[in-house]
Structure formats: structure tokens, C-alpha cells
Symmetry: C2
Subunit: 272 residues, 2 copies
DNA sequence: TTTAATATTCCATATTATGGAATATCGAAG
DNA sequence: CTTCGATATTCCATAATATGGAATATTAAA
């Protein structure tokens, strides 16, 4: 791993965040010092020092048994606060709750995280279904599954291609998703305005998803409904797409607060 | 604010975490550079540099408008993963779900965060109630409300006193909670083994809570049930306390993985 | 347009983090 | 119980990094 450097001179931070990333990406059993050293290309003392500082600050926890490092409680707290503030979760919670209630399906909120898509919130439907991301916090490469496809497809073409290229090896783990099929789905999603998986990835589990757009930034998240593919009919799709569109229309204005410059008196005068 | 130094030499990290804390503590509108400089006792360039490095790494986001700093998307992702893994949330989710289902009340999971108590997860009951912490991510000073009281009361006496002393000014915002009354409640919680608020803090809203203990660390979280105080009867308390006790008995073993040294052959032999 | 307030950049310097080497601890095998 | 290999932790002189005062730029208000 090559640790990405921030423009600001803050190497220690770069390294600390890189280590957090490595721990986050690892399995939930936690990561050993050795493994983190190797994967980060940091030497033992440096790695050890930073990891322990992170532990002292509560960003990491440490399994006293196996001497393994895991994400810490404080991150839970930060995460909860971040998701809550003017963050996505609080904005979308009513929508998820309504969708869950009126359809009885599983409603999910996914957010983009680099080349991945992460489940931020989830309201389980009447029928408990397995999903690609599992529960909250689970992630998939962008492109896999309707929730992530909905974001990927609406990124600028160039970025989209780069991401697909980078994710190719990881997408290969899904045999149903050939390169050709992926581009087909992307194209289809763009044309239709929503992403649909009729049960290709997880047999029997279908999903519909639409992106949440932020101006100048693009799709940052998506809302999805997941249900048994046996129930998939054109009417159902139509109904759920309409529902998603409706809920998104309610949320997007809050994600795109009006740019004051566009409405300030000066600017209005300037338009004369 | 005096920035806490880690034993390991990692001042930059200390400062970065301190800034994250300040942003997390601030309101959800975000914090300005100036305010963060003042509150952290860091000078402008240093503060600016660290904040922007955090932004580059996605731990903070920045409001392009008001130039304010907020908790970033990546923290949401980390938080979700932390809460999910062998973290509290995933351990407690089934319990919350069961409690919510069998009682129809609002079930909450709170975790300790320094002198505060944060809502990590919440399953709303049939009747939507206002709670002290609001939704997920909300926090209250330790001591305010049954969920936080359940943790505070079972901390070592000394720590408990220190926290109460530090939190005094913030607790003053709750007129119903005089110093005397707080200590009464702490004592009562210790004796009963559970914390009870019969509607003192939020008129009409009652709550019962019990702590989750980790050996050597103490109470790190609590499970609570919240309901209309009008429905509060001794029988209801008894039933809910039994339910909480039951669920906690199921969770605690997983939070306290058996210390292998205590069960290893050597040790068994050693006990002869 | 001017002014005050806030944010950003610069850069020589002092302070900090670095990492090789030594040491300690753990766990498995004999 | 002892040995041995592997992993984790500590030490410290040095190199490299972050620091912060001062200068500059940007923004919002007057």
C-alpha cells in the first residue's frame, strides 16, 4: 500500500488514517501489528507507535488476547454524530421509515466511499433478506448491486471508467457480473434513471435503487428497496420507482442548500 | 481546552483528535476555523493545516459556503464498521429488536463517550416518543437520563464523583436534576441495579435502563426502554427489568471473551 | 469603496517523529 | 519445564517534520 499524502504537511496524519483504513478494511477479528506493518509499508516501531496513540485516543481498540487492533468505540460515536448532523442518515431516516412501512420491503441507504459503496442505514422489511452489503457498515465495490450501481452510473463518464477499471479485480469475484454485463447495466441505469437487479447477484433477491445528487459533487448516496425477485413485476417496479423518486425529491433540496451567491441582492442586480 | 497528550510521541495526532472532538461536540452547523483555534489553543496556521489534512482524508467535510468544518463521510463509514463488527451495535441489535417487538416500546443502546453518553442505536416503539438524546448520535452528559445514569452509577466511586463534578455545569441545564437529586438517583440505581426515570426530565416520558459491563473496564454501554410515564406501574417495571436483565445476560458473555489464561490447561492444573 | 474579520500561504527554525538495533514477551514444540 | 521462532515493545541519536510569526488573500459588512 502506498500511503496517500495530504497536500498539507501532515505525514503522521496520513499514516494514521492509512492505518485506520487498513484496520477498517480487515475482517472484524482485528488486525495484527505485523500485518499492518507489512500492508502499510511502515516499520514496526513507527507503526506500533501510531497504532497505540490511536488506541489511547479511542479510535482503535485492542483485543487484549490476540493483540489485535480493531476500530474503536470513539469511531462509533463520531460515526453516529456524523451520520446524524446535517448528515445523510438523519436526512434519509424518515424516507427509509416510510418506504419500509408502505411497501413492507427492506429499505437501505448507501453512501459512496471512494471506490466503494457502504450501507449507512437499513430498515428491514417483513421478510428478512440477505443483501450484498449485509447490515450497516458493510460495503461492496462500486458497480456491484443496484445501490452502488445507481451512484456509479451517474458519475462523470471518465471517473466511472476509472473506477470500473480499478474495481475490475474485485468485481471478478461476482461471476454473474462480467465486464460486458456491468457496462450494460450502467447504460441501462443511465437510460432508465434507476438501477435494477432482478436477482442476478444474490439468487432470488432483487433490488431497485436511485441516486441522491449533490450539485458539483455528483451522486453521493442512494436509496434502495430490496425484495424477493419472485415478486418482481413491471407494476411493482413502476410503483417502487415512483416511491423512490418521490422520497428523493423530498431529500435532495436539503442536500443542496441554495447557494447564497445565486440569490443575494448583488447577484440579482448583476444579472440586469 | 488542554489537548490530552498520548504517551507515544504523536503530538500531531493528539491535536488532530482534539480537533475532531471539538467538531463532534459542536453543533451540527459546523465549526469555523477561528472557533476551533480558540477552543483548541492552537494557532491559526497549525489548526488550519491539520483541519485541511483531515478534510483531505475525509474525516472532516467542509461547507463550501460558510467555510465550516463538520464530521466527514468517512467517519460515518468507520463508525458503521466499528459499530457493526464485533462492536456493540451488532451484539445488541437482536436484543433491541426483540425488546422493541415484545414490548412495543422504544429500545435504545447508549455507549459511554468520556463524560458523555451517546445513542448508538434505537428502535422506535409503536408510539413515537421524544427522548433526551434524540436519534442515533445524540448525546447527554453522563448522569442525565436513565441510559446514562445506568453507566455512571456503576463506575468506581472516585471516577463517578469526578465526572459528576465536571458535568455539573452542563447538568445545571436540567432544572429537575439538582445535585442532591442526582446523587439520590445514583444511589438508588446502585441499590436497585437499574436506572429509572419516571418522567422527571422529559415530562411524561419514562425510561428504564441497565448497564453492560466489561471486566476491568466497567460499564461501557446500556440498554434502555422508553415509554409513556402514564403507563408506569410496579408490574411494568418488574417485567421490563427482567427483560433487560435477560437480554444483557445474553450479550455480556460476548463482550467479555473468556480470558484464555483462565481456561487453559496450565491454569487448570495450576489450580490444583 | 473601505474596513474589519476571517482564512490561507510562506519559510527559517525548533521540535518532533523516525527507524535500526536491542530487548521483551508470547506461543508452540520438544 | 525448556527451547526456539515469531511477534511485540522500548530506546535513542539523528533526520525530517511540523511549527507559528508575519505577510497575504479572501470574504462579509459598512
Amino acid at each position: 500500500m502506498t500511503i496517500p499524502r495530504a497536500k498539507s504537511g501532515a505525514q503522521l496524519l496520513d499514516r494514521a488514517v492509512a492505518l485506520l483504513d487498513l484496520v477498517a478494511d480487515g475482517n472484524s477479528e482485528g488486525e495484527t501489528l505485523k500485518s499492518l506493518c507489512e500492508r502499510s509499508n511502515l516499520n514496526k516501531p513507527t507503526c506500533h507507535r501510531i497504532l497505540n496513540a490511536l488506541v489511547e485516543h479511542g479510535l482503535l481498540n485492542r483485543d487484549p488476547e490476540g493483540r489485535r487492533y480493531r476500530l474503536g468505540t470513539k469511531l462509533m460515536v463520531f460515526g453516529a454524530k456524523a451520520a446524524n448532523g446535517p448528515g445523510l442518515r438523519s436526512q434519509c431516516q424518515p424516507a427509509l421509515e416510510r418506504m419500509r412501512r408502505t411497501t413492507g420491503e427492506t429499505a437501505m441507504l448507501m453512501a459512496r466511499d471512494g471506490d466503494d459503496s457502504v450501507c449507512i442505514d437499513r430498515y428491514d422489511g417483513d421478510c428478512l433478506l440477505q443483501t450484498l452489503t449485509g447490515s450497516i457498515g458493510g460495503s461492496v465495490p462500486l458497480g456491484v448491486g443496484p445501490g452502488s450501481l445507481a451512484m456509479l452510473a451517474f458519475l462523470p463518464e471518465e471517473q466511472c471508467e476509472e473506477i470500473v477499471a480499478r474495481n475490475r479485480p474485485r468485481i471478478a469475484a461476482y461471476p454473474a457480473l462480467s465486464d460486458e454485463r456491468l457496462w450494460q447495466l450502467i447504460e441501462q441505469t443511465r437510460v432508465q434513471g434507476y438501477a435494477l437487479d432482478s436477482g442476478e447477484l444474490l439468487p432470488g433477491v432483487a433490488g431497485i435503487s436511485m441516486p441522491l445528487h449533490v450539485v458539483e459533487t455528483g451522486p453521493i448516496a442512494s436509496l434502495s428497496l430490496t425484495f424477493l425477485s419472485a415478486r418482481l413485476t413491471p407494476e411493482l417496479i413502476e410503483r417502487y420507482v415512483a416511491l423512490l423518486r418521490e422520497e428523493i425529491a423530498l431529500i435532495e433540496p436539503y442536500l443542496n442548500p441554495l447557494d447564497r451567491r445565486l440569490t443575494s441582492p448583488e447577484r440579482v442586480l448583476g444579472q440586469h
